[in-house]
Symmetry: C2
Subunit: 372 residues, 2 copies
């Protein structure tokens, strides 16, 4: 019996995954984490109004969601000061990035990103046969000028820039992005991943015409709105590009509960302001915890903080293992020299208490013989 | 300024969508439907335990869902009597079909389906550049023998068979599928879309080894479990094929609320039994309503009924328009001769009351001059 085979492109793909989930680590270690601070989730949670809207929508879950995402799209357009034709809604930025890569990249097309930036974007590029070119970070920042130079050198069709950046929490300014945009090669599209933009200073939010065909921006309800598990985000840009998503997206893909939650969350600007204040306070506290241990917290425009552990990646990895043994879930950048840091998400004080309590021992253990 | 362009394959795709949602029709007609009976949703709703689990999970929506879908996958494996390695969970059958097509089909590969079967499958095949071959229904049934003959003729890599079938509600038997499977060309994969299987008679559920590499089966929480809006379904088959999904799926794509709801729904076999009984009663009632109007309801193994309106597609379309004007959302098959029917979903009595009340007038209007 001849077994059905994968098509050549997927057949060539590895069986790797972009991320191991915290639940898998919990199953391996045989117990739940006491502090879940590794996935840049927002432990301050969704707006109570969003929770209520989602709980109410649960009883209506027998209905498919509106495939047009009409009400949310109109609300987002008003929120952004654009028209609904400039906006598309998707199942989180992960799905939007996958669809964008599918729209733009044929096998062998060149794509540029930063070395150590969002692995899921790379996963999508590999998945559609694109050729990835990676530009080093400069001083823990993504380097827009270098990204553009590389894009020109390799004839890229896509450039990825997260601003603010994950995993470092750093940001580049409007002015830097404007300069970079002018150096974008003709026919190349700039993806601005703005997942953390609600936590960023105004200078990090570029003033770009929404009709500029060279740029698409992506935002999410996963971070500032505390709805990562609901899977809903959006992209905005020139209508001709945005309409492209309708050619390939899973039209009934956004779940109805998330639609209701996102609509309620967007309307609750008071909760967003409170979350921003909570996150700013937690960032400061993570900075203080780092300092108490003789470490440096990097400046952050996100809801997480990269803490420089002062040694190499092996040391930071040992810190993470020791933290995990103590019930603290955190992560770290994957590439040197950023991997001298651990990355800790902001969260309520009781979670940060546990981190503060566990860190000194974890650092001590990491300084001893490697254990794994 | 040179505008970024789509890759050649998506550039060739039309801006059509597989379906217009009922909400879009409601916005056009300027009011909500009084009876929502057109999308094969299950108006008897999710298990109260699933609703409670989803409402509870809403407050935890700040956490991403488990990318391994571990607990649900294990529960499904126990439910199916297979191992977790035989199961993959996805964002509804729509997403699973998209990923399967992406796994199996390179541009120009041949795919066989029935003419008038699920349009979203065709959308995915077109979206990945496959060549679709359509086999006619025979006596309102998909025709497994003809599907296999066509697959052999065109050298297909994929054959799609929905059993029970949408849009006709008909089914083929285990015996017919076994015969067909033996005629499947070497290297070709049979997709059994079993979205409605929980409503089907035992003879419609084929006995196929889960390790048979020639078949993949897909099921969902959208229909019998009443959770269409939660977007969660699963596929099962040989582990080597199932593992392929990990190469391309959106690992964090299934929302946490749906995971919790599906787990609770699967455990509530009492509610499922009650839903089956409710649906059987509603099918009978739809048959009686049809008969009261001099029409014939086709036998159905699903939660909807195709009602033969006794004329052509134009007539049935006029019936639908008149029903819509009366606040009743229904749909119809897209291809002759099945398009002599309208397709009405099962629902609670108050919904069917409205349909029963509106149908005589709708038929009368359809018999007069076409209005649109």
């Amino acid at each position: 019996m001849e077994t059905p085979r994968f098509a050549p492109l997927p057949d060539s793909l590895p069986e790797t995954v972009p991320f191991t989930g915290p639940e898998a680590i919990e199953r391996r270690r045989g117990g739940a984490f006491a502090a879940r601070l590794g996935a840049n989730e927002n432990g301050f949670g969704p707006s109570p109004r969003a929770i209520a809207a989602m709980a109410e929508a649960a009883a209506e879950a027998w209905k498919y969601g509106d495939p047009d995402n009409h009400d949310l799209k109109f609300a987002l357009a008003a929120h952004l000061g654009v028209t609904p034709d400039h906006v598309t809604v998707g199942e989180g930025i992960d799905a939007l990035l996958g669809n964008l890569v599918r729209l733009m990249i044929a096998p062998g097309d060149a794509v540029v990103t930063s070395n150590g930036a969002y692995p899921t974007f790379n996963y999508h590029v590999n998945g559609f046969g694109g050729d990835l070119y990676r530009v080093p970070y400069r001083d823990d920042h993504e380097d827009p000028a270098a990204l553009m130079a590389e894009a020109a050198r390799v004839g890229a069709r896509l450039v990825y820039l997260a601003n603010p950046d994950n995993p470092m929490g750093s940001w580049v300014t409007d002015a830097e992005i404007q300069v970079a945009l002018n150096a974008l090669p003709p026919g190349c599209l700039l993806i601005l991943d703005e997942a953390y933009v609600e936590f960023a200073p105004p200078e990090a939010v570029p003033r770009i015409s929404v009709d500029d065909p060279r740029v698409i921006r992506m935002r999410t309800f996963s971070k500032a709105y505390g709805m990562a598990g609901a899977r809903i985000g959006y992209a905005f840009g020139a209508p001709a590009l945005i309409r492209g998503f309708d050619r390939i997206r899973n039209h009934f893909g956004v779940n109805r509960i998330a639609q209701a939650g996102a609509l309620a969350a967007l309307a609750d600007s008071g909760w967003l302001a409170q979350t921003r204040a909570n996150v700013a306070r937690a960032r400061n506290r993570l900075g203080a915890i780092a300092a108490d241990n003789g470490l440096t917290a990097l400046p952050s425009a996100t809801n997480f903080v990269a803490i420089d552990c002062g040694h190499d990646g092996d040391f930071a990895r040992r810190v993470l293992v020791a933290l995990s043994d103590a019930g603290i879930f955190a992560r770290m950048p994957g590439v040197a020299p950023m991997d001298r840091c651990i990355r800790v998400s902001c969260g309520p004080d009781d979670q940060l208490d546990l981190f503060a309590k566990a860190l000194p021992d974890a650092l001590r253990q990491a300084g001893q013989t490697p254990r794994r």
